[in-house]
Symmetry: C2
Subunit: 448 residues, 2 copies
């Protein structure tokens, strides 16, 4: 229990969102003379970069999730609140939550982004995106159910539609999903079925621009495409998706419409800012960019509101006056640590220099032994890039137990090509009571 | 692919249910000259004895699940079908599935049991039982949400109701759940909250008979009660639950009604046979016992139907003319192996002796370093019993990767008292878009 009088006097920092941005701010403010409240609607931090491995049956949700309370329980100045933000009053310095209203001296908003279907929100039902644990389990269910449905389907054409996997969007998430599904179909599941040949599956990666991994240098994009093709993925660039329904994806290529029969369509194409962007615009006059991200000052604060900061994927920080910083974990972590430092220095009466992002490079994984790495001064691909990717991800998995278990899972998967987490869960399972119709006496074949 | 002519001539064994009974039958029939079809509505075998650890946040669903296709993929004579049984025609020797109709020469039914609320099926909503992965995740969600709700509750009395956990039924599952929740409240979560003291939680284990673990010798029951009490569980025997609603459990003790305010009620009190028992009664004249289990012949077949076998929890096998064998994994495994042997010998023209269960003893775990063991010739409790319990469970975890990962999780939990899987998932997560009401111009505090 915090002493009540002390509680009144301490500088109150409220952080909204327990992703990389919010969590790293909270961690950096632990054991300092401020009072921290971290608000999240979930009770755990999610290591999103590995979410595609939950979707494709390599890892379990808890392997890449850490309870926020557990991570922060030694920071006695920090409380975690499982709640959702409803509104904001910057004049009164209060956030309105579902459960209560909370006063702040400094507010940090780090609520991230969600999927963007470019005005086609009804595609969401047919082509789920990948942001939450539930999204990942839904993708997992669809991927593995597709193989089961194909095994039971006797019609050749319908079977092919079950064995066609379309991934929309050739950024890192699309590349990772396509690579992992190809490994499933062509390696992991190869001997599991009796009627279908899983190696006849089609894995299509569709990208609207002229190359996959557009933020990377062109030669790495080319290398990634070669690696994906070697894994069995069909990479198609300059292809626009114009419609998605239950079993047909309509695409436009060179102005011509084409139809792809496919039951499993996964969305990795676009993101838009979470609703907090709009709240900041309406209540605090924030300027939003095209996808709803909040334009921030050089010190990550909101123009006209020096005690409100926006960090992580939700922030548009014009990096050296150029493109905004990408929505990746290292940016959010560094922004969180910067804001924590700024608050601590402000309390000492000091100012600090504007935020500068230290770019340690970019990594995208394609499959086993395959990744591309761009460290700025050097670019490479292949097994070394893959090992670097593994090392970086294990290093940043926050809790030590997650690190060990993920490493062990990966080691096991590497040598056996098995994936233990390819279980289908979450669908309401019919109780067999509901299927069997007891005989009425006239049709009863036997005496009961 | 099986050669079509060979397929016509081979003896067709159809197994319904991929639990311990069905899976062990299928495993024992692999690489033999019969054609095996294993039907299950799920795509995985579930190691039910550890399900309570999923419910209490120690393990992930995939840690205790193995994909059936993966376990059986080297048995080329075996196909796995993800389907559900709708009806049975013993005269035509056919099972009717949702997707197709399947002919058999020998049928093995191993569909197990489900919860039994003794005529109060509406309690199911308030007091979930523990049979499936989804059940376990629902229990997990309720347990951890209760602590979150208590942290946000300012009313003393309501807070106490959130911190009261009632487990109905003092059998092995009830004892395991009560022990694990007590460890959560009094050890794991101790430092995680700021407003509540989790050690003020009440964990009540209610049993109608005069002692917990009724199938065990009385002195082991007494020892288990002492161990549970030491962990912080309140054990109450000779208590009947007469009503369960949203926040009150009504019990009868010595004829007097009492009311226990509690939000979290977990059901571990009774089981009833799955609907296949009724199908066998209606279609094949099977005799059912009081809870719907199927009475079987000394060789586990159905009276009058020598080619239909019922094994596992669904079967009532009058053990040495006494009580039926208990619904535990070793019974189902031995029955499955027995039936597989019987089929193989029958095909060679031989008969085999009736089934005899080899009882290697009983184990029930209470908490860390605490278990009770009854090996018949010797009974003991404490750390040695606990180590034996761990060894037995790891030994039987079917797939090697599950064994390693569970062992590692346990090792980590043992030394840190952490539980990595205490994440709350599966609930539809409100998109924050749905909470914020954008200002209408009249109330807008700032110009947008």
């Amino acid at each position: 229990m915090v002493d009540e009088t002390e509680k009144q006097s301490a500088h109150r920092v409220v952080i909204v969102g327990g992703g990389f941005g919010g969590l790293y701010t909270a961690k950096a403010l632990g054991h300092t003379p401020v009072e921290v409240t971290l608000i999240d609607k979930r009770n755990f931090h999610l290591f999103q970069p590995l979410l595609y491995q939950v979707a494709t049956g390599s890892l379990s949700p808890a392997d890449i999730s850490s309870p926020l309370r557990g991570i922060l329980n030694s920071s006695k100045n920090t409380q975690v609140l499982m709640d959702e933000i409803v509104d904001l009053d910057p004049q009164q310095q209060k956030v309105v939550l579902k459960g209560e209203t909370l006063a702040y001296d400094t507010l940090i908003v780090a609520t991230g982004v969600s999927h963007h279907y470019f005005g086609n929100d009804h595609w969401k039902q047919t082509a789920p995106g990948l942001k939450t644990i539930e999204d990942a389990l839904e993708m997992r269910r669809r991927i593995f159910m597709a193989f089961e449905a194909a095994e039971k389907e006797s019609d050749e054409e319908k079977r092919r539609a079950w064995l066609t996997f379309v991934i929309v969007g050739g950024g890192p998430t699309g590349v990772e999903l396509a690579g992992a599904i190809a490994e499933l179909a062509f390696k992991t599941l190869k001997r599991d079925f009796r009627k279908i040949d899983t190696t006849e599956a089609q894995v299509l990666l569709l990208e609207g621009l002229d190359r996959i991994l557009p933020p990377y240098p062109p030669d790495l994009s080319a290398k990634a495409e070669v690696s994906l093709t070697r894994l069995g993925v069909t990479v198609e660039t300059k292809v626009l998706v114009t419609n998605i329904d239950d079993n047909i994806v309509t695409v436009k290529r060179d102005g011509q419409e084409e139809y792809i029969p496919a039951h499993t369509v996964l969305w990795a194409a676009g993101v838009k800012a979470s609703a907090m962007g709009q709240v900041l615009a309406d209540r605090a006059g924030a300027t939003l960019d095209r996808v709803g991200r909040v334009m921030v000052e050089p010190n990550l604060s909101l123009a006209g509101h020096p005690n409100i900061f926006v960090i992580g994927d939700l922030a548009n920080f014009p990096h050296q006056g150029e493109r905004p910083l990408p929505g990746v974990a290292p940016v959010a972590m560094q922004e969180g640590e910067y804001v924590a430092k700024l608050i601590k220095q402000q309390l000492l009466g000091n100012t600090i220099a504007p935020f500068v992002y230290k770019d340690f490079g970019s990594l995208a994984v394609i499959g086993q032994n395959e990744a591309v790495v761009d460290l700025g001064f050097v670019k490479f691909d292949g097994p070394l890039a893959w090992f670097l990717w593994i090392f970086a991800h294990i290093y940043f998995l926050i809790e030590f137990d997650n690190k060990l278990i993920v490493l062990l899972q990966w080691g096991w998967n590497y040598f056996t090509r098995k994936r233990g987490a390819r279980i289908i869960t979450g669908e309401p399972v019919l109780n067999d009571d509901s299927l069997y119709q007891p005989p009425i006496s006239s049709q009863a074949p036997v005496k009961v």
